[in-house]
């Protein structure tokens, strides 16, 4: 079956993660600490007020816990493809019977699965106990949250792939990858909840893929969206995945051609 090799890649990367036990516990702690930093700041900002612009402090905390947690799950190694371009081993990848992009996605999903179980859930439980978060609106919303989170992952993964494919032309992927992270972090709600962005900026952001990575799932979880709106938002997520997929394919094909022309 053609899905089998991809499953093997995913399993391999899932299992490979156990090697650094200590590192892993520390990274859970790190995620929690970052959540606490933001929660602490917002408690001070609220300064006893029950709500600001209709947003309660618990909603803010929930936003940070979920988006930081998802961020820990979604982490993509931006140097996977570039390192293969630099050492030339990318040429071998073209010859394999499995799709390279499929393999990258599979390995990354193996990683993400590991992160959900061993990183997201512990961090969620710890921070829920320490700072308190809202439970999901209802079970349907929880499932829709999960669906939307998976779509958000698709958006982020696509962006990462496009950045990685730039390695065919650019040497300094580090800058590109770092700038991408900057945009994602600031504009998708992991550092400042998008409710508190200036109105004009928030409207402008809706035209970019960034709010659809973390903020859409969070809004669904909090029950801020009607079913109609959820349908619409998930539709936009799909459109973004498709557009970014096309961009990735274009870069990948052009890069491959460039490599062949130059003879590796």
């Amino acid at each position: 079956m053609f899905i089998a090799p991809y499953f093997a890649f995913a399993k391999k990367s899932f299992l490979g993660r156990s090697a650094y036990r200590f590192e892993h516990f520390m990274s859970i702690l790190n995620t929690c600490l970052q959540i606490f930093i933001f929660a602490g700041i917002y408690i001070a900002l609220y300064n006893g007020r029950s709500e600001v612009d209709g947003i309660t402090i618990s909603m803010v905390s929930t936003n940070f816990v979920l988006s930081m947690g998802l961020k820990a799950v979604f982490c993509v190694d931006d140097y996977f493809l570039p390192s293969k371009v630099w050492d030339g081993s990318i040429a071998n990848e073209f010859l394999r019977p499995v799709s390279f992009r499929g393999r990258m996605l599979a390995e990354n999903m193996g990683n993400a699965a590991f992160n959900v179980i061993f990183h997201f859930l512990p961090a969620l439980i710890i921070s829920a106990v320490v700072i308190g978060i809202y439970p999901p609106e209802n079970i349907v919303m929880l499932l829709l949250f999960l669906l939307s989170a998976i779509l958000g992952y698709g958006v982020l993964w696509g962006i990462s792939f496009a950045v990685q494919a730039a390695a065919f032309w650019a040497i300094n992927i580090w800058s590109l990858s770092t700038l991408k992270d900057v945009f994602v972090n600031v504009l998708s709600g992991t550092m400042i909840p998008l409710w508190f962005m200036p109105e004009w900026l928030y409207e402008a952001l809706k035209l970019t893929p960034f709010p659809y990575i973390y903020f859409t799932p969070v809004q669904i979880y909090l029950g801020q969206l009607s079913y109609r709106q959820i349908l619409q938002q998930c539709g936009i997520q799909l459109v973004w995945i498709w557009l970014i997929y096309l961009l990735g394919t274009l870069l990948w094909k052009k890069g491959q051609k460039k490599l062949v022309v130059q003879g590796g």
């Binding site: 650094y20 200590f22 590192e23 520390m26 990274s27 702690l29 790190n30 600490l33 970052q34 606490f36 930093i37 602490g40 700041i41 408690i43 001070a44 900002l45 600001v52 040497i171 300094n172 580090w174 800058s175 770092t178 700038l179 992270d181 900057v182 972090n185 600031v186 550092m191 400042i192 508190f196 962005m197 200036p198 900026l201």
Partner: protein, 269 residues
């Protein structure tokens, strides 16, 4: 210090600079990236304060002044302590074996064979710009006393951060990976330090003052110059002891480093 030592330091620095200038555009791009990445913290504070007005009684300029001291000290610190920050990599790729085989002090070699000029320019540039802009806005009077205070405090702040890196480097001799420890004890603490510590939970305040004394890098020095009311809950002497804390912590870290060296067990092939 022997004149010979100074000569080697100069040759090391020349070599690093030369390597850095091999890729000029690349270097410029990387420095700019660091600048942008770090500037996001400022943008976030700006947007947040636009909505909320103040944070624990601190206005936007006061907060950014607090922030600028972090960048300033990091920019200077990283010129000297990159080797300690990246020590884990040096151990793993066998670089430390090579240091042992050369007739010079080990810490001396770790420190002087590496300097991250991207970070120095990125952080330092941001720090200087932010410091100059905000110092004017918050109305700091530049008399001799304040200037001397700032110089000593910056040196102290550099040493505190250097000491943390040195401790982590020493731990690297026992542990294969210390990136997460660094993330926890340095980078996360630094994120807390970007805000007035008085707004956080007591446990975190204690951490920032007595465990990883980042509060002495920027919070207490900023308090000396700004005198915000939240200083009342801490002993006033804390505003003056940054250099002492820096030197003491560095000495302690150095002792631990010296002690740890005998346990070094090469990376092996």
């Amino acid at each position: 210090m022997k004149s010979d030592t100074l000569h080697v330091m100069a040759v090391y620095t020349k070599t690093i600079m030369k390597a850095w200038f091999q890729y000029r555009t690349d270097a410029l791009l990387s420095s700019l990236t660091v600048f942008f990445r770090e500037a996001t913290g400022i943008i976030v504070i700006y947007f947040t304060l636009l909505k909320f007005g103040n944070l624990g009684g601190w206005n936007i300029y006061e907060l950014l002044f607090l922030f600028s001291l972090l960048f300033l000290t990091y920019g200077i610190m990283i010129i000297f302590f990159t080797g300690l920050r990246d020590f884990g990599k040096t151990v793993r790729n066998g670089g430390f074996d090579r240091f042992i085989l050369r007739p010079r002090g080990l810490l001396f070699q770790v420190i002087f064979t590496n300097a991250d000029w991207f970070a120095a320019v990125g952080h330092g540039g941001l720090g200087v710009a932010l410091f100059i802009i905000t110092a004017g806005e918050v109305g700091i009077e530049w008399n001799l006393r304040n200037i001397v205070y700032c110089i000593f405090t910056v040196i102290g702040g550099v040493l505190i951060q250097g000491a943390i890196f040195l401790l982590l480097a020493a731990l690297n001799i026992y542990l294969f990976e210390t990136n997460s420890l660094k993330e926890l004890f340095y980078w996360n603490m630094r994120k807390f330090a970007g805000y007035p510590i008085s707004i956080f939970h007591k446990v975190i305040q204690i951490c920032m003052i007595y465990v990883v004394p980042f509060a002495f890098v920027n919070y207490f020095p900023a308090q000396y110059l700004l005198r915000k009311p939240d200083m009342a809950q801490y002993p006033a002497v804390y505003m003056y002891i940054t250099p002492i804390i820096g030197i003491t912590l560095y000495m302690l870290a150095y002792g631990f480093w010296k002690y740890s060296l005998r346990f070094y067990k090469s990376s092996g092939n």
